[in-house]
């Protein structure tokens, strides 16, 4: 292969040569042109001298015009020359460019000539099958070797991968096993703990259920006993009833039957017996006198049970305190206190009653000696709601006492006496009263008149004064008496009191035996009509 750059260098050299030749030619042409110009100038100078001479001789104005013409001619000449030079240069440049382009085209043509020869060589090589086969075989061998290498690499990499994966799997399996063990242990622990908790809860629930059932059984048994006692009370005593005796069936004869009962064609009843049909009157229901009069009422009204308050003990809280007077007489001896029951009531034989959250009214009387207040129960008030939302009340009088925290009857309280106040208020009054009495006595002693013999005993002025003071002292004493009465009234109220504070936990001891009727009631609701409207 030929170097194309070698050709290009040749071409450039040739172009340079042509350029040199062109420049040489241009210089030669320039020299020639200068020579021709010099010659022409010399000719012109000669012509000009002649003309000048001629003109100088002829006219100076003409001489000037000729000079202008000359200038014009010179200008035109110079323009022509410049244009000629430019033309020459452009032509020269065109030629140079054309030559350069032809050189380039020629150089490219040289390269084209080389290509077919190479193709021919190749053709020759391709046409030879053996060579092609050899090349192919070589290529195939190379490919085989490459493939083998690749396979080896792949197998190696796969082995490495297998190993790593197996190791990872083993590690993960061991980890999973460990975590599973931990999980199993934790779950076992939690399950065992929860099972234990559940067991304990179940046991508790069972115990509570047992207690509840026992209580319920007891209450049910008591109710049954009550019902039985009621039924016994209400059962009819047949011996006491004086019902008219029924006629015996044998006594009825055909003669006694009225004749109008014999209809035409009717079978004769002579000799026939009247049959008594017994109708059942109910199974096992005890007779009640009320059923005879108004049997319909029994079906409509449901009898609510009567409940007995047995003798027992009940915890309660003193909801209201009191200042209970001790040395007072009359109606104002007691103070009302309220108790609120808490917890269940313990009665005899380990049984219980339920008067939880009931309110008990009680009367407290003061005991100066023990500085305590004795409290007696007066009323109980309980409220219950059934499943339908109906309200029931259990209200009645009860008997009982209140026991203090020490287990003693009565509640100890702070003894509040007001002797000091009493003395403080009484002393000035007594002093004043004493002073008035002293004044009264002095006037009495001074008002006595002693008449001496021989004197008339005229003591008018002194008598008037005495009578005035006497009157004044009397009025003062009477007013003071009234005032002291009023004071005494007040002082009587300043009795020693037992202060009972609220919130104390006490025990109530019921005497028991009171039967309280459970009754339906409607709780007070001032907004009843508004609520009714709202519900409508």
């Amino acid at each position: 292969m030929n170097n194309p750059f070698g050709n290009w260098n040749n071409i450039t050299n040739e172009a340079k040569k042509t350029k040199k030749t062109f420049l040489d030619m241009f210089e030669n042409w320039k020299e020639k042109q200068n020579r021709t110009d010099d010659v022409e100038n010399s000719i012109d100078d000669i012509d000009g001298d002649d003309e000048r001479v001629k003109k100088h001789d002829e006219d100076p104005l003409k001489e000037l015009s000729t000079l202008d013409e000359r200038v014009k001619n010179l200008k035109s000449k110079t323009i022509k020359r410049v244009a000629g030079v430019a033309l020459f240069l452009s032509v020269g440049m065109f030629i140079i460019v054309g030559l350069v382009k032809t050189a380039i085209v020629l150089s490219k043509d040289d390269e084209r000539k080389d290509v077919p020869t190479k193709v021919q060589d190749l053709k020759l090589e391709i046409n030879s099958l053996t060579k092609w086969q050899e090349i192919k075989d070589q290529q195939v061998e190379q490919l085989g070797t490459d493939i083998k290498n690749v396979e080896q690499n792949m197998s190696n990499k796969m082995d490495v991968l297998h190993q790593t994966i197996s190791q990872d799997l083993v590690n993960t399996a061991s980890n999973i096993n460990e975590s599973m063990k931990v999980l199993q242990e934790s779950t076992k622990n939690t399950i065992s703990s929860s099972l234990e908790e559940i067991k304990t809860e179940i046991q508790k629930v069972n115990e509570e259920a047992k207690q509840y059932t026992d209580q319920k059984n007891l209450t049910v048994a008591e109710k049954i006993a009550q019902i039985e006692s009621k039924t016994k009370e209400k059962q009819l005593d047949f011996n006491k009833l004086s019902l008219p005796s029924l006629p015996k069936p044998e006594e009825h004869n055909a003669s006694q039957i009225p004749s109008n009962l014999y209809a035409a064609g009717a079978p004769s009843s002579a000799g026939a017996k009247i049959e008594i049909i017994e109708e059942p009157m109910g199974e096992g229901t005890p007779l009640d006198f009320t059923t005879f009069e108004a049997p319909s009422e029994v079906n409509t009204t449901i009898e609510l049970p009567k409940m007995t308050i047995m003798a027992g003990f009940q915890k309660a809280m003193l909801t209201t305190g009191a200042d209970v007077p001790t040395l007072q007489k009359g109606n104002d001896l007691t103070r009302n206190v309220w108790l609120s029951t808490t917890g269940e009531m313990l009665i005899s034989n380990g049984h219980t009653e339920n008067i939880k959250e009931c309110i008990i009214q009680a009367a407290a009387t003061g005991n100066f000696a023990s500085a305590s207040a004795d409290i007696r129960l007066t009323k109980i008030s309980c409220s219950a709601i059934d499943e339908d939302g109906q309200h029931y009340k259990l209200v009645g009088t009860v008997k009982g006492w209140v026991y203090g925290e020490n287990g003693k009857q009565g509640l100890k309280g702070r003894l509040v006496t007001k002797e000091g106040e009493l003395i403080e208020k009484a002393i000035p009054l007594t002093l004043l009263e004493g002073a008035i009495k002293a004044l009264e006595n002095s006037t009495k002693s001074s008002s006595t008149v002693y008449a001496y013999p021989g004197t008339t005993g005229s003591t008018d002025m002194s008598n008037i004064q005495d009578s005035f003071t006497d009157g004044a002292t009397k009025t003062a004493s009477t007013t003071l008496d009234k005032f002291s009465d009023y004071y005494l009234m007040i002082l009587e109220q300043l009795n020693p009191t037992i202060e009972l504070k609220a919130g104390r936990e006490v025990t109530i001891g019921f005497e028991g035996g009171e039967m309280l009727q459970l009754e339906k009631y409607i709780p007070a609701d001032v907004d009843y009509f508004e609520n009714k409207k709202g519900s409508e």
Partner: protein
């Protein structure tokens, strides 16, 4: 006369102190419970009855705050 006056002057103030009263007293001055701190005369709350009734579960903790009864044992009201 002077001796009797002096005697009265000493004896009467002693009566007021309660020393002679203690000597003269046949029985005990205080009960067993009171003696052992179970004096509940100041127990309770100086609160509104309505509020007490409304929140009666909280009352007992306050009502016996300052009372330390030794002889009640496990049957103490607080417990």
């Amino acid at each position: 006369m002077k001796k009797s006056l002096i005697f009265m002057g000493i004896f009467i103030p002693l009566l007021f102190t309660g020393c002679i009263g203690k000597l003269i007293n046949i029985g005990e001055e205080k009960g067993y419970c009171e003696e052992h701190g179970c004096d509940y005369s100041d127990a309770g709350v100086c609160g509104d009855a309505y509020e007490l009734f409304k929140r009666k579960k909280k009352v007992s903790a306050v009502a016996y705050k300052n009372i330390e009864c030794d002889c009640a044992g496990e049957f103490d009201v607080k417990k």
